[in-house]
Every structure is written in structure tokens, then in C-alpha cells.
């Protein structure tokens, strides 16, 4: 990222329900669980995460999006690996 891009990044009004596409590979925090599976919440959109280890809450994981409903802002993703943890 160039220095100019660093200054201009985020200079928008960002949606509270971001969208994802199947095949996207992302690094995100695991934020909770629902219906027996981990959940990754990004803003007010949620991804159900399959295959994550039991102690994944509040860790940062790499995941691959497998599907996303742009109307309900919910989707599914596969756990790939753990890449970090919470700042505290």
C-alpha cells in the first residue's frame, strides 16, 4: 500500500453489513458461537465457521468463505488455520 493510499484508506461511509463472496480467504477474529458452531461476526454480518478448534473464541483465524446470502447478511466459511490472538 502506497503512502497516499494509507492516508485515503477508509475515506468512505462503510456499510454495517459487509458482503463476502464464496472463495474469499480472510483473516478474522472468531467472535462467538451459535447452534453449536463458531461464528465470525464482521460488523452486523455473520459467518458460520466450520471446523474450528474448540478454543477458537477470540483468536484470529484464516478462513475461506463458502457461501454468503446478501439479503440476510449471513454466510458460511471453512476454518483453515489459527493465525493470531486477541490484543489482550
Amino acid at each position: 500500500m502506497s503512502i497516499l493510499e494509507k492516508y485515503l484508506a477508509g475515506l468512505t461511509f462503510r456499510s454495517n453489513t459487509p458482503r463476502f463472496d464464496a472463495g474469499d480467504e480472510l483473516e478474522l477474529f472468531v467472535t462467538g458461537r451459535a447452534d453449536g458452531a463458531h461464528v465470525v461476526r464482521v460488523g452486523d454480518s455473520t459467518l458460520r465457521l466450520d471446523g474450528a478448534p474448540a478454543d477458537a473464541l477470540d483468536t484470529k483465524v484464516r478462513l475461506r468463505v463458502t457461501g454468503f446470502d446478501t439479503d440476510d447478511h449471513v454466510g458460511e466459511a471453512d476454518y483453515l488455520e489459527t493465525v493470531g490472538e486477541s490484543a489482550f
Binding site: D35, G43, D58, D72, S86, A87
Partner: protein
Amino acid sequence: MSTDQTDGFDGGVSAGDDSEPEIDFYGGKLASAFPLVFFVVWAIVQSGVLRVSDTTGLVAGMLVALIFGMFLVKGSWAGYANTIFAGMTQRVAATAIVAWLWAGMFAETIQTGQFVSGLVWAAEAAGIGGAVFPAATFILAGLLATGIGSGYGTTVAFTALFFPAGVALGANPALLFGAILSGVVFGDNLAPVSDTTIVSAVTQDADIGGVVASRFKYAGVAAVLSFAAYLGAGAVMDGISVAGDASAILGSNVGPTGLLHLLSMATVIGTAIAGRHIVEAISWGIVVAFVLNVVFGLADVSEMLVFRASDSLWIARELSVLPFVEAINTSPEGVTSSVGGSLYAGAQGFFPLIVLVLLIVAGAQIMIRGGGFRAIQDFLLESVATTVRRAELTMVLGTAFVNSMITINTAAEIAIAPYIARLGERFNINSYRRANILDANTSALGYIFPWSGGVLVGYAALADLPTKYDWFTRGMVVDPTEVVPFVFHGWLLVGVFVFSALTGFGLEYISDRESEEVARA
């Protein structure tokens, strides 16, 4: 799909490290918050009620809090004691400490190199009148605060020099004091060498250069509006007719050479934003400042580093030919051998804050292991921060509230930082955004209210002015309550973030942009 944001697993809030000991408190999980709550009350009484701005006093408060907290622990106290060690050795504290030490050396070195004198020259050369003086003061105070990162240092320098000069020119005193504080808020918020900038970045796992670049959009909006407001208010608010001479106050022995340190500032800001490690960036800034001082005669080597040894030592007398060794007569009472200079004083100035941050982080770790942190976090996530907009608003208002209570703003920032991190992570809000929310409200609220540390420091300097100038009367001293509405940049910065939280302006998710690697913090 309904989700439970608060449904944690056995690992709890310490990210699942089951090897760490748990601590049971009499009174339940919330009792683990006792050390931090006691400290907050101490800080309010000391700095807010008694108006004592003494960081070492807060260190004493945190030590007493940790001792009292131990008496609330069920069973063995060993786990509690070990948690103090565990908290103090966290990377977040170490990173902030390293950055502070480097920032302190840099700030002191450009001040020694007559940077303030250069700003005074700029004000004189511009030949501005009383109506425009507050707006110009806002810009120049912002420049100094961005260079040295010290809000209190800038406040003292400007209230001692620019304030009486501006009053003599016919500027409104309350507006002028507000302009000084506004400039300080701007620099405290934006400077890569500011203690609050450093804390905001390292506690949110973000690199300092990236944080500085990402917060221009917020600071810029507030600064443009503030500048316009000072121009407008300066035109309609009358000053006081006095017999003072502004030129005599600002001094005839000033020159533009000190402005060369704009190059030192640009070196630090440029290299940090380019992605270099903050230690590397500030080190280059120190090298540039040192060279400029020596080459252009802005400061002697001995003003930046000096060993003052007893002249009774032959080796001291021999080495005194070197520019950084002085052989001094230590026989008079009170004269001792010492090390001095800007590099020494700059680092030393942060020692009380360093000890304080270690103890606060230890208190936070006790709250985490005792379950209090989790209990409050769950309450916020269940009842308050239920959507990303509400979560951001909670972060903005929570930071503002804590900073309005704990008036030494760096201490307040450290105390609230874990909640900003956790709330933001639970919505995957980008670390730059979290750091910006944390620092903007910390910087702003530290210089607005009558009990704020920054306002009190400025008031103390103002109260001293009648002893320095015959024409400056007690009636010209601005009471801390009078300045509250005139800290335009502080109010506007908080307003910008409330607006941002409500509308999503500037919001970035972790999936939008990763911060640079943590090692670059």
C-alpha cells in the same frame, strides 16, 4: 441467524490460555476489578478534586490498590502476586515503554534546538493582529505538539509566551487559551511521538505509522472547522485593552533557524508512515535533530549529552576537552557529579509514566484472571453494544467518559484500552479504527474540562504571568471553567467520532485492511 456474542468457551477472555491460574475473590468476579476501581477513585480525588497533576502520585495510588486488592483474594495470595508479574511482562507495556523513551529523547532534543524560538519568530514575522492571533496560535501550537508529542510541554510553552503576547495584541483571553489547548489536542492526537498515540496503537495491535496516516481524515476535518471557528470568533470577541508590548514579550532574540526542526519532524513522520519500525523512525529523527543542532549552532553537544564529573579526578580534567565531558567543582554543597542533556532528560521524563503503565496493566490482568473483565464485557455485549454502530458509539462514549473522570489522559487511555480492543474485535473492527476512536477522545477530553490535567497545567502557567509582567493583572488570567466552550478542536474531534460511529464514516473492518505486522508497532 441469531448469534451469542458473549458465549465464551473455557478459555475465557485470556484467549484460552488454560495454564494461567484463576483467582477467586471475596465478593465474586466483579471484586477483581477492585484494584483498577480503587485507582480510578484515587485518580479522580488526586487530579480532579485536589487538582494535583503528579504522575508519581498515581503510581502510589496503584501500588496501594494492588495491596488492598490482595486482601480480597480467597485462599493463597501467590496466584494474585504472580499475576502482577504476568501483567507487567506483557508485550503491550514493553512496546509502549520503548516507544516513549525514544519519543522523549527526540522531543527534548528539538526543544533544546530552539524549535519554540522558531515558532515565535514565525508568529512575529507574520505580523498578525489580535483578531487572527487565536487562529494562528492554534496552528503553531498544533505544530509544536505534533513535533514533540507532549501536550503538557506545549501548553506550558505557549501559555508562557504566546498567551501574554496575544492578549497584548488585543486577542480575547479565553479564546486564546482555548486555541492553545486546541493546538495541543491536535498534536497529542496526531503526533507519532505522542504518548497517547503510542498507547492507542500498541494496545490495538496496530503500527504507529499506519495509525497516524489513518487518523488524518478525522483530525483534518476537525482542524479545518476549528481554524475557521477561531477566525470567526476572533473577529467578534473583544480583547482587553492593555499596555503590554507583544514584541517585547515574544523577545527580540528569536530567529528562524529553529524551524529547521520541521525537517526532524518530517523525518520521523515520513519514515513511520512509510512503514519503518517506530524505533527506527524516531532514531533517524534524533540523528537529524542532533546534526542540525550542531551544524547550525542551535545547541551544543553538551546540551544534548554531558557527563559532569568532579574536577578532582585527573581523568575528568583530561577528558574535558571532549564536547560531552565537563569537569566541575563538586565541593559546594548541592553540586554533584551527574549525567545530563536532552537525551537524558527526555528519557527520564517518562519514568513515572512507565512505572504507572506497568502497574495498570498488572491491575488489568488481575481483573481478567479474576473474571471481572469478562463480566463487564458480557454486560456491554448483551445490553449495550448489540450492533456495530452501537458498539462503536459505546467505544466513543466510554473512552470519553473515562477520560473526563481520570484527568491524566494517558492513564485513562491505558485503563480503557482492553475494552476498546475486545469490543472492536468482537465486531472485527479494524485495529486502526479502534486506535483512532481510543486516541481522539483521549486527546480531546484531556484538555477540555476544568479538572483536566492539561487545563490545570495551563492554568498554573497563566496564574504565574502577573508576577512576570507589570501590566498583566489577575483579571486577565482565564479561569479553567471559562475556557471549556472554546476548546473547539477538542469538541469537534469528539463530534467527528460520534458522527463516524453513527454513520460508518471511516469505518474499516479487519477484512478490509490488515494493519502492518505487530513487530512494527
